[in-house]
């Protein structure tokens, strides 16, 4: 045993009062668990919401020709009328660290008609294979299949299908002003239906294969309006967009503006802040209660042990020694509890990260701040809270033990032993 005598007394005391130790340590460990798990849920919910909101269609970073926004005119393709080498641009973007995927798109305002009903839509030309790595449009498929490249097939929202009264396999007329000034029109077959849960998205988009939509709109294959980019951590979007912009990933003479989601979805930033704010209050309240519970238990133990301290004093121990012994015991208890806390917290964090509590069965999906929210409570790993909570609980344990012990050593042992 290399530890000094006070540590030994601390450990031995813990061992001797097993029931008390177990009670207190369980309380401390559960307090730790609650604080860390709630903080993890708070982080997880906010990150999930941002991921979901930007993941449905927009991506976390978008690349456009500088003049494309805000009017989104058909002609403002990346690289202007000549277009650009799209595969090379995609490859260059995907080489950027942190980027998970990039997908090219063209957009045009148009009409789709089932004959009886005609609805104005936003036509989207997309590469289904690449969309998989960027958006969740393909994952939102509820019926049929994705439009195959080279075919005149359309993926439409379930709400649009309802308005047009069509189903998979129905032919639709698509009409749009083309880039050469003509009125482009053609028959497309409904290949699949998607449902994101967001009424505006489900009611106003018609997605076709990139090549077929480009052909319809009389745009060369090198002309795209947007490249949507998905990245690993949504909060790094501004930095990556900045880096993409300054590093010059595009071929010479092709100006491209990269914008992170924090710019094109400012209300999401607001929501994330609100969530973080109210979650922070929750964390503080839970934290306060946990600390209070711990302090309370420890105070009671130490007060009840005045007789023990008095005896030690009477037996010749110095007050300093007793205080040190108590501190050692509290520290040992604190460390034991934190170890216990970590042991019960980490598996739950990991479990709820990979298999989050699913409230979907109780509530169904819903949208919030324009983002579809899958009602799951996924936990993230609140690294700083891990240490804050540990530090705070240890400090609480020390202070709660120290004060009564200190007082006990001030009282003449005889009085205490006599029960006064």
């Amino acid at each position: 045993m290399a530890a000094g005598p006070w540590w030994r007394i601390g450990w031995r005391n813990l061992g001797r009062n097993r029931r008390r130790t177990i009670l207190t340590a369980t309380g401390l460990a559960f307090g730790y668990w609650a604080v860390v798990v709630i903080a993890g849920m708070a982080d997880g919910i906010v990150a999930d919401m941002v991921r979901t909101a930007t993941g449905i269609l927009s991506g976390q970073i978008q690349a456009h020709a500088p003049a494309y926004l805000p009017d989104r005119t058909l002609y403002e393709t990346i690289g202007g009328n000549e277009g650009t080498d799209v595969p090379a641009l995609l490859a260059a973007i995907e080489r950027e660290p942190g980027v998970l995927g990039a997908a090219p798109r063209v957009y045009a305002g148009g009409l789709v008609s089932s004959g009886a009903t005609t609805v104005g839509v936003l036509l989207v030309g997309a590469d289904p294979a690449r969309e998989d790595s960027v958006s969740r449009l393909t994952a939102a498929l509820v019926e049929g299949h994705l439009p195959a490249p080279g075919t005149r097939e359309l993926l439409i929202g379930s709400e649009l299908a309802r308005q047009l009264n069509v189903r998979v396999g129905t032919e639709l007329v698509v009409v749009a002003p083309a880039a050469d000034g003509s009125l482009a029109n053609d028959l497309f077959t409904v290949a699949g239906l998607y449902r994101t849960g967001i009424a505006e998205l489900d009611g106003s988009y018609a997605v076709g294969p990139l090549d077929a939509i480009q052909a319809l709109l009389v745009l060369d294959p090198g002309r795209v309006h947007e490249i949507a980019i998905r990245i690993a951590d949504p909060w790094t979007a501004p930095a990556i967009a900045d880096s993409l912009g300054t590093r010059g990933v595009t071929p010479a003479g092709v100006p491209v503006a990269f914008r992170p989601w924090t710019t094109f979805r400012p209300e999401l930033v607001d929501y994330a802040n609100l969530s973080a704010g109210s979650m922070w209050i929750v964390v503080v309240i839970v934290f306060l209660m946990a600390i209070f519970g711990v302090a309370n238990t420890l105070l009671m133990t130490t007060f009840e042990r005045r007789r023990e301290f008095a005896l030690l004093l009477a037996l010749g121990a110095t007050p300093r020694g007793i205080v040190r012994a108590v501190l050692a015991e509290a520290a040992a208890l604190g460390i034991l509890s934190i170890v216990l806390g970590v042991v019960i917290t980490v598996p739950v964090l990991i479990w709820w990260h990979y298999d989050p509590i699913d409230l979907g069965r109780l509530f169904g999906d819903f949208t919030m701040a324009g983002a579809l929210v899958r009602p799951v409570l996924r936990t993230d790993y609140p690294v700083t809270m891990f240490f804050y909570a540990a530090g705070a609980l240890l400090l609480t344990a020390l202070l709660a033990a120290l004060y009564p012990a200190f007082r006990a050593t001030r009282v003449p042992p005889a009085d205490t032993l006599a029960g006064r």
Partner: protein
């Protein structure tokens, strides 16, 4: 009876004599209960504010519409003057009337708005300028100009982004084009009298308020409206009143449907339910911590009371009475703590937050969630039901926690207990 009085006296004395222990045990309950009351009233306040903000922009806590309007959204599905009279009569119900905060008749239609610069699709809502401000509070979202006033005729109150898109300034003309119930397309001129910002992009880009009478004359629907939107004093009355009104209007069910906000804005409902659930989870965890603190404190005190129990027994108290004594102590402590806890909770919450709990630091002046603009200042809401719930659950924990010491007190080994304790 005699013995019971003795036990109560003994229990009172024990609580008083062991002041520190009592104080610590009580403190766990008091602080726990106070925190519970505080966080629940803040959560409820935030919640109700959220719902109210949402329904103000939607169709209210309650809405009356023609049964097919929600699905078809067509102007021919409107409420006639007779239907409106039936609704007014139903709302005059003595149970419901005192809870009405605003009743707003509205005529809603999709139209094309053209100005010299451009033409875009919009949503036009004909509103009663006298009644609408109390409902949607659009008069508090003015960017420029003013809101509609009772004698307005050709005035339009336009979303600020829509105004920018059409390059409209105050006083500029705007032509609204839409099909009336007979399918004939008609035009209506309005002039921009004010612009607003709700911070919800879809609303600011496409909403126009015009006087109800102008809209009715334009579309040729006499005094018809598509929706009568009702704002109540509190959201939790909505379901109850919806049922009551549905019963009252049952004879008109083929022409008038009563919708609660849950049915009218399923998105908001889902978001609120989700938030509710989050609150349950959080309060569940908070409650477990509180319970644990109480149980821990009580158990800890029992560990040190072996000798005390021995003394009582030695003085002639039977096992059952000893248990009763410990339980009574628990009951007294719990009762006092419960009362103090609730009062402390109320006092702290009210003292700190009666002006609202200000989250502005976190998110700027306002933000949107589920299509509702929320002022990030939450006014706490106290509900008697909720206070009683918190107090009762804490009391139950306190009582259950003192069952164990009571049981233990009966299992005392007298000889062991009376030994000099080291």
């Amino acid at each position: 009876m005699q013995r019971l009085r003795l036990i109560v006296r003994l229990a009172l004395r024990n609580v008083r004599r062991q002041a520190r222990r009592s104080a610590l045990t009580a403190a766990a309950m008091v602080v726990g209960l106070a925190l519970l009351v505080m966080s629940r009233s803040l959560a409820d306040g935030a919640h109700d504010e959220w719902i109210e903000a949402g329904v103000r922009l939607g169709s209210g806590h309650l809405a009356f519409q023609a049964p097919e309007f929600r699905a078809r959204h067509a102007i021919e599905e409107h409420l006639s003057a007779a239907d409106r009279a039936a609704v007014e009569a139903a709302l005059a119900d003595t149970v419901i009337a005192p809870h009405l905060k605003a009743v707003a008749p509205r005529l809603e239609i999709t139209a094309l708005a053209s100005a010299a610069a451009a033409a875009v699709p919009v949503t036009v809502v004909g509103v009663d300028p006298a009644r609408e401000p109390a409902f949607s509070e659009m008069d508090q979202r003015i960017v420029e100009g003013r809101y509609l006033e009772p004698h307005d005729h050709l005035q339009g109150f336009v979303g600020v982004e829509l105004a920018q898109r059409l390059r409209l300034r105050l006083g500029d003309r705007l032509v609204l084009t839409a099909a009336g119930p007979d399918g004939a397309i008609t035009d209506q001129l309005v002039r921009v009298v004010g612009t607003f910002r709700t911070a919800i992009p879809e609303v600011d880009q496409s909403l126009i308020h015009i006087p109800l009478a102008t809209a009715q004359a334009w579309l040729g629907v006499d005094s018809g409206v598509t929706t009568i939107a009702v704002l109540l004093d509190a959201s939790w009355n909505a379901d109850r009143f919806t049922r009551r009104l549905q019963e009252a209007l049952a004879p008109h069910a083929d022409r008038i449907a009563v919708l609660s906000w849950r049915a009218a804005s399923p998105e908001l409902d889902a978001a609120v339910r989700m938030d509710d659930y989050g609150d349950y989870v959080f309060h569940g965890i908070l409650f477990i911590i509180i319970a644990l603190a109480i149980v821990n404190t009580v158990l800890m005190s029992v560990l040190y009371r072996t000798r005390e129990f021995g003394v009582v027994r030695a003085l002639g108290l039977r096992k059952r009475d000893t248990a009763l004594l410990v339980l009574t102590e628990g009951l007294i402590l719990t009762g006092i703590s419960g009362l103090v806890g609730v009062l402390l909770g109320l006092a702290v919450t009210w003292g700190f937050f009666h002006d609202g709990f200000d989250l502005t630091a976190f998110m700027g002046d306002q933000m949107t969630a589920a299509g509702a603009v929320i002022d990030p200042v939450f006014i706490p809401q106290f509900r008697v039901v909720q206070l009683i719930q918190s107090a009762v659950s804490v009391a139950i924990v306190g009582l259950v926690a003192s069952l164990y010491p009571a049981w233990r007190a009966t299992r005392i080994d007298m000889a062991e207990a009376m030994k000099f304790e080291a």
